[in-house]
């Protein structure tokens, strides 16, 4: 004889009708894929934001024969001074900086080595940072070349736009991948729920006859699938953490925060690496198990309530 009041309240026995293995494992796989996709989306979003923000507002201007004298309206001046005078007409808030000799040497060091005393005729480099929401005047390059022939204007925005478009398309792909993963999770949950309903058909009819409401029956099924979904989502997300950290380590040289390039596959300084994980990605990863639970809960609620409509 068992205990009179066993705690098994209604005979649905959902741990048998909706077994752990299948739904849990499949949602875990979906969680793993979703975690990788979220990381990819987060990376693409960061790149897009960076390129559409800072990088797109940068201009690099090269002035060959910078110290050569030039006759201007206001009297004799050098070529670089003439360019700097023209740049004064840029939108208010623009930052104009002519690279100093040490800065120039550091810039060219990878190609020329120690260049403090190079005999090469180096151009003057002027870096311009425009304020956000302003653009380079269309006639700038023409104006500069009229006053100082041979001046080269390198427009970062041109590359920035292309890279931003690439990042946005990556972001869209990540969004579609997430939708697909969500759709598959919905289908898996729907199929599991349908199987559970089929195996518990008679018991549900009896409970319905005893006065169980739709929300009670749907809630019992939904709670079960949501629990499995949460467990699966958590397992999948945790499973994705190691590959994500490895990918982060590989992507370190491209990160906005300076990190040393990896010299081995496994990172040595985990703490420093973890600190580089973007905040929004961390939040998204933490939310994944809850999202999986919600998808399972919602799908099951709908499925069971639709099924119950066949009973008056």
């Amino acid at each position: 004889m068992t205990r009179p009041f066993s705690g098994r309240k209604d005979g649905l026995s959902l741990s048998e009708a909706l077994p752990d293995r299948s739904l849990f494992a499949l949602v875990a796989m979906m969680g793993f894929l979703a975690a990788l996709t979220v990381a990819g989306a987060s990376g693409a979003r960061a790149l897009s934001a960076r390129w559409s923000g800072g990088a797109a507002q940068l201009l690099t201007i090269q002035v060959p024969d910078a110290d050569t004298a030039l006759t201007a309206q206001n009297g004799p001046t050098t070529r670089v001074q003439a360019v700097l005078a023209d740049l004064a007409s840029l939108p208010a808030g623009s930052e104009v900086h002519q690279l100093t000799q040490p800065e120039l040497s550091r810039l060219l060091e990878p190609w020329l080595g120690e260049t403090d005393n190079t005999a090469l005729p180096l151009p003057a480099i002027i870096r311009v940072k425009l304020p956000v929401d302003t653009s380079v005047p269309a006639t700038l390059e023409q104006t500069l070349n009229t006053h100082v022939p041979g001046t080269i204007v390198e427009h970062n925005a041109r590359w920035g736009e292309r890279l931003r478009a690439l990042a946005n398309s990556l972001l869209a792909c990540a969004g579609l991948a997430l939708l697909t993963v969500g759709g598959i999770a919905t289908m898996i949950t729907g199929l599991a729920t349908r199987t559970g309903l089929a195996t518990r058909k008679d018991i549900i009819k009896t409970l319905h006859g005893l006065g169980a409401s739709d929300s009670y029956i749907a809630g019992r099924f939904a709670w079960r699938t949501a629990t499995l979904g949460f467990g699966g989502g958590l397992t999948g997300t945790l499973g994705a953490c190691l590959p994500l950290l490895l990918l982060l380590q590989m992507a370190a040289p491209f990160a906005s925060t300076p990190l040393t390039a990896p010299d081995r596959l496994l990172p040595t300084n985990w703490q420093a690496l973890a600190a580089t994980i973007p905040q929004d990605m961390l939040v998204a990863l933490l939310l994944l198990p809850f999202a999986a639970a919600f998808i399972c809960w919602f799908t099951t609620q709908i499925m069971v309530r639709l099924w119950l409509l066949r009973l008056p």
Partner: protein, 226 residues
């Protein structure tokens, strides 16, 4: 109170032959009716309509003072169903649950406190003679024990209407008589009771008005004659 006015019910499409056709009768609150008729006459179908497992295809049905219609809100039907106790011919017990858990179901669905539920369950199981079998899974009970468990489950929440489909089939004569006395007692206390049976000795023992069905039609209403 139960009232049916010209009620018909079709099992599938409306153009199929009706299982119940133009049934009209009235049972007052606290009334008792035998439901009689040959096999296939529609007794179980009429009970399932009264239990709101199905809704009438035509006509008007009032159960416990509430009119039941196709367009009724589901929550209203659930509340109404909670006020009805039904003993099915096949008992419809949860095989994995103990006798006590089976009987406790209607109270649990009404979210009654657990200690209150346990007291009520022990009392009613003692009354139906299953006081020593409270922890046994329903699947391990004999036919008679299953029937008594189903009866206990049907009456534990003191419903306003009790419906029973051949409730004495698996019972011994003495238990069947005891059950009848209980139904009569509940009826006297204001519960409406409808019992479908073939057992003529029972009908003779408890003389009450009857409803006689034949081929889905009500051919005799003893209550109306009374």
């Amino acid at each position: 109170m139960i009232r049916l006015d010209n009620v018909s019910w079709h099992r599938g499409k409306k153009d199929s032959a009706p299982v119940l056709a133009h049934v009209s009768f009235m049972v007052p609150q606290g009334g008792f009716r035998w439901l009689l008729g040959p096999s296939g006459a529609g007794k179980s179908s009429l009970l399932s309509l009264l239990h709101i497992e199905n809704l009438p295809s035509d006509g008007q049905m009032t159960i416990l003072g509430k009119t039941v219609a196709q367009e009724e809100k589901r929550s209203a039907l659930v509340r109404l169903r909670q006020r009805i106790g039904m003993v099915h011919q096949d008992y419809q017990l949860m095989p994995d649950l103990s006798v006590a858990d089976n009987v406790a179901l209607p109270l649990r669905l009404q979210k009654r406190p657990e200690d209150e539920i346990q007291d009520e369950v022990h009392a009613i199981l003692k009354w139906v003679g299953l006081g020593e079998r409270v922890g046994v899974p329903a699947a391990q009970l004999s036919g008679g024990e299953q029937q008594r468990t189903a009866i206990a489950r049907a009456i534990i929440h003191r419903p306003g209407l009790i419906l029973a489909d051949e409730p004495t089939n698996a019972l011994e004569e003495s238990q069947a008589c005891r059950l009848l006395d209980m139904f009569a007692e509940l009826s006297a206390m204001g519960t409406t009771v409808v019992v479908a049976t073939h057992n003529e000795s029972l009908i003779r023992r408890l003389e009450r008005p009857f409803l006689f069905l034949e081929r889905g039609r009500l051919v005799e209403d003893g209550g109306a004659q009374a």
